[in-house]
């Protein structure tokens, strides 16, 4: 479930297509007519290539989807089932897309499991590694090897290539490519501390570098009434019931762990080639001890352990906390909401350093979800073709129209298969280019349309900071946060070999439950820190040792 999270938040790490804001209201009329005139279509040669060729006869395609909770963000007159991006894809490929069900994002995996259990499998779906394995064992999904070879466009192939073959290997079972792997080398970004600069300024403090700084700021935010309302109603650091989690754990404590050289939930390979599990290392104990001390001192939201992301976002948006951990795209969600409700909320990103003064961050795997096609579906190539067109819509390639001013916030709703096959480090590259354009060393007219639109938004916010939350969000994420990432950092990732083993291990769910429970209880003081040692023993005994042995064999 945690993984799925990434899919729905707005983290599109590409040159996103944001037409100039303020934008006239969407025209629902567009839906009733063809998006692209016949004459124009005839002139577009790419439409005749394998990657885009329309089916000779309209085929129907049944999909399923998460994201229902954000449907309110769609433009007037459009919906998940009916929107211009979807219509464009349907027309381009001559397919009729329907949704078997649409549920809130964090129910998606549950509902899909239920659907698979009931034998009511959609034609094409996004699955995780365990589901891929199960469906493969059952022979319930198509071998996509020939379709990916023939139909994937050059961009997708290149992005898979960038992972050194890891992505495609992860989706290959018994020599067959049974799923189309995602690639998100960057979007599962490092966790950064985001702090309200207006509160810091008021209290005469500097932004944080170290965990000590975080503690000092949290203490000041709790004790010195940073919002000046005369009530002791502000929290220090926020948190959620997922204290650790890659990738993109909003309100997660990952950055604090990383600052201690601890990389929980990561199966990393040491210099000697051995795979270890970060959660059971002594550094993790140290970090837990620190977090427990912070909690004990009242510097973390006292009820964090029973709050999920939405609940904790509310803490931030309602102005009760000015210190939150999260990835570079946090300005889009939820910080833009915070700025909407309080234009003084000047959130700024600060990456933490470890004891050696270095930036080292836990990263997600390159690949953790897969698009699969139900066995017997007559047009398996459609899955590949849809991903091609979605990529074009994202990048503004192949004349793909740019429909939406808030594309970054709603792309998961627009796309029938909300799935990313990404270029690495595109965020840093774009951040640098925007910076160079601002300095005058790069001509902004050379930007593609999508980047030009963002560049305008950045300039508007620089001229009048936080007057428009959308402009602010683009500037903060694309420029300020991206440039911080561009300064470089050490990446700690789960080894690809390990990534193929643990999700399908029968003991893994129980081990994870044990870990979640113990970490939360240690941080909140329900257990003494030294219970960590018995946790490690228990983890080893209940399948952890075997798991590592399997990985290292």
């Amino acid at each position: 479930m945690r993984r799925l999270f990434v899919l729905f938040v707005t983290l599109l790490a590409v040159a996103a297509c944001l037409p100039a804001a303020p934008q006239p209201a969407a025209e629902p009329a567009v839906l009733s007519t063809a998006a692209t005139p016949q004459a124009v279509m005839a002139a577009q040669a790419w439409r005749q290539t394998d990657a885009y060729s329309p089916l000779p006869e309209t085929a129907s395609l049944v999909l399923v989807k998460g994201g229902q909770e954000n449907a309110g963000l769609m433009p007037e007159g459009e919906s998940i089932e009916e929107n211009r991006a979807l219509r464009y894809i349907e027309e381009t490929l001559n397919v009729d897309i329907r949704f078997g069900w649409v549920v809130p994002s964090d129910s998606y995996s549950d509902k899909l499991n239920l659907s698979i259990a009931s034998g009511d499998i959609p034609d094409v779906m996004i699955v995780d590694a365990l589901q891929l394995q199960q469906l493969a064992e059952a022979g319930a999904i198509e071998d996509l090897t020939p379709y990916v070879e023939q139909y994937a466009n050059a961009d997708l192939l290149a992005n898979w290539e960038q992972t050194g073959g890891v992505a495609l290997a992860a989706a290959t079972i018994d020599g067959k490519l049974l799923g189309i792997p995602n690639v998100q080398p960057q979007a599962d970004a490092p966790i950064i501390a985001w702090v309200r600069q207006d509160w810091l300024d008021k209290l005469g403090m500097q932004g944080p570098q170290t965990v000590d700084d975080v503690e000092a700021i949290a203490r000041a935010f709790v004790e010195q009434d940073p919002d000046g309302n005369g009530a002791a109603d502000t929290y220090g650091l926020t948190g959620t019931l997922n204290p650790v989690g890659v990738p993109s754990n909003l309100h997660g404590f990952d950055a604090i762990f990383n600052a201690y050289g601890a990389f929980p939930e990561i199966f990393y390979r040491d210099e000697a080639g051995q795979i270890h599990y970060g959660s059971v290392q002594p550094q993790t104990k140290e970090a837990l001890g620190r977090l427990a001390a912070l909690y004990q001192a009242g510097l973390i939201d006292p009820e964090f352990a029973t709050k999920d992301t939405d609940k904790s976002n509310e803490v931030v948006v309602s102005g009760r906390s000015g210190l939150m951990m999260g990835p570079w795209w946090l300005p889009w969600w939820p910080l833009a909401d915070s700025v909407s409700s309080d234009p003084n909320a000047d959130w700024q990103p600060y990456p933490l350093v470890d004891q050696a003064g270095e930036r080292s961050f836990a990263m997600g795997g390159y690949t953790y979800s897969f698009v699969v096609v139900k066995k017997g579906y007559p047009h398996p190539e459609l899955a590949v073709k849809i991903l091609n067109v979605q990529n074009d819509l994202s990048y503004g390639l192949n004349d793909a129209p740019q429909f939406y001013p808030n594309f970054n916030e709603i792309w998961t709703l627009l796309f029938p298969i909300p799935f990313l096959i990404e270029q690495p480090y595109v965020v840093e590259r774009m951040g640098r280019e925007y910076q160079q354009a601002l300095e005058g060393s790069l001509d902004p007219t050379t930007f593609n349309e999508a980047m030009q639109i963002e560049y305008d938004q950045i300039q508007q916010d620089l001229a009048a900071p936080r007057s428009n939350p959308s402009n602010w969000a683009v500037r903060m994420a694309r420029l300020d946060a991206a440039l911080l990432l561009a300064e470089g950092y050490n990446e700690v990732r789960t080894d690809p070999v390990a990534a193929r083993v643990f999700p399908t291990d029968p003991n893994w769910p129980a081990l994870q439950k044990l870990e979640d429970e113990v970490f939360l209880q240690i941080i909140t003081g329900a257990r003494p820190l030294d219970d960590f040692d018995s946790f490690v023993e228990e983890w080893n005994r209940n399948g952890g040792t075997d798991l590592l042995a399997k990985m290292n064999s």
Binding site: N113, P302, N542
Partner: protein, 296 residues
């Protein structure tokens, strides 16, 4: 007088219910066979490989399963004991209230939570048990530091148990009140003539009158020691309190349906079914033996 056509009519009447029972109770029983398979939903019941007792053996070795069983029995037993105790005390006291209007008013108030769903009550509990909620505010007046009711493993089971008492004590008191109103008033009068105090009357007249009912309720409860209240816990728990608050039903739901370990989930469920059947058998036997109770 008893015609064959009558019998046919009776069968016709029973048939719809019987068919539905077959379809929704006995067919699922057949599906329980996946507890002995490595069930893969895409392969179905016919296609999935059989593994014998592997899932059950694996289950007995699981630390989680043992812990969950202990939590279930503890929570369910404490609920029964405390609800019973509270209901009996309440009924005995209410029996002493002579003003009929007041009596009715009190009953009206304490029955209400019974009719509300756990979704609603959990929504209310989450509000009043929050750090800045009603209960912590009240405790604050007495100088008690805020308690993290839903996030402390040591506290959580008691939140569950006591909120169940809140919901059910009034309603369970009904059976005791009925028994108390059945007492012959002359018994009290005779006791008074003998100089019995109010407490003595309670002890020697009222309590013996409801003792059989207490025995009956106690016997019937045996069948429920594996039901710690799915709806209630499902709507109040979170990972931090799994160690003390996770019960069989929530566990089966999570591993069986949500994590997709269908066979393991079914095995745990089947274990519960079998044990519960035995317990219910015992409870009915005990109820008929000690309280002369027949279900029909």
């Amino acid at each position: 007088m008893f015609k064959g056509t009558d019998r046919f009519a009776y069968w016709l009447m029973v048939l719809p219910g019987l068919l539905l029972l077959l379809a929704f109770t006995f067919v699922p029983l057949a599906y329980s066979a996946i507890a002995f398979q490595k069930f893969n939903p895409a392969l179905g019941l016919q296609g999935s490989p059989w593994v014998g007792l592997d899932n059950l053996l694996y289950m007995f070795g699981l630390r989680d399963a043992r812990q969950v069983l202990a939590n279930t029995v503890f929570i369910a037993a404490m609920k029964m004991i405390l609800v019973l105790f509270t209901a009996v005390s309440f009924a005995l006291l209410l029996n002493e209230v002579r003003f009929l209007g007041v009596r009715r008013a009190i009953q009206t108030m304490v029955y209400l939570p019974h009719f509300l769903s756990w979704v609603i009550l959990a929504g209310i509990l989450r509000t009043i048990l929050a750090r800045d909620g009603l209960v912590n505010d009240l405790l604050g007046y007495f100088g008690v530091a805020p308690i993290y009711f839903l996030g402390q493993p040591a506290v959580f089971p008691w939140v569950i148990i006591l909120s169940d008492v809140w919901k059910e004590f009034g309603f369970e008191a009904i059976v005791y009140l009925a028994a108390l109103t059945g007492i012959d008033p002359t018994l009290y009068e005779v006791a008074e003539l003998d100089g019995a105090t109010r407490l003595q009357k309670m002890r020697y007249v009222s309590l013996p009158a409801i003792a059989p009912v207490i025995v009956l309720v106690g016997c019937l409860s045996i069948g429920n020691v594996l039901n710690a209240g799915f709806d209630q816990i499902f709507n109040l728990y979170s990972p931090i309190v799994y160690s003390s608050g996770d019960i069989l039903d929530t566990y089966v739901y999570r591993i069986g349906l949500i994590q997709g370990q269908y066979s393991l989930g079914t095995a745990v469920g089947l274990f519960k079914t079998v044990v519960a059947l035995g317990l219910i058998g015992i409870s009915y036997w005990a109820a008929s033996r000690y309280a002369n109770y027949r279900i029909f």
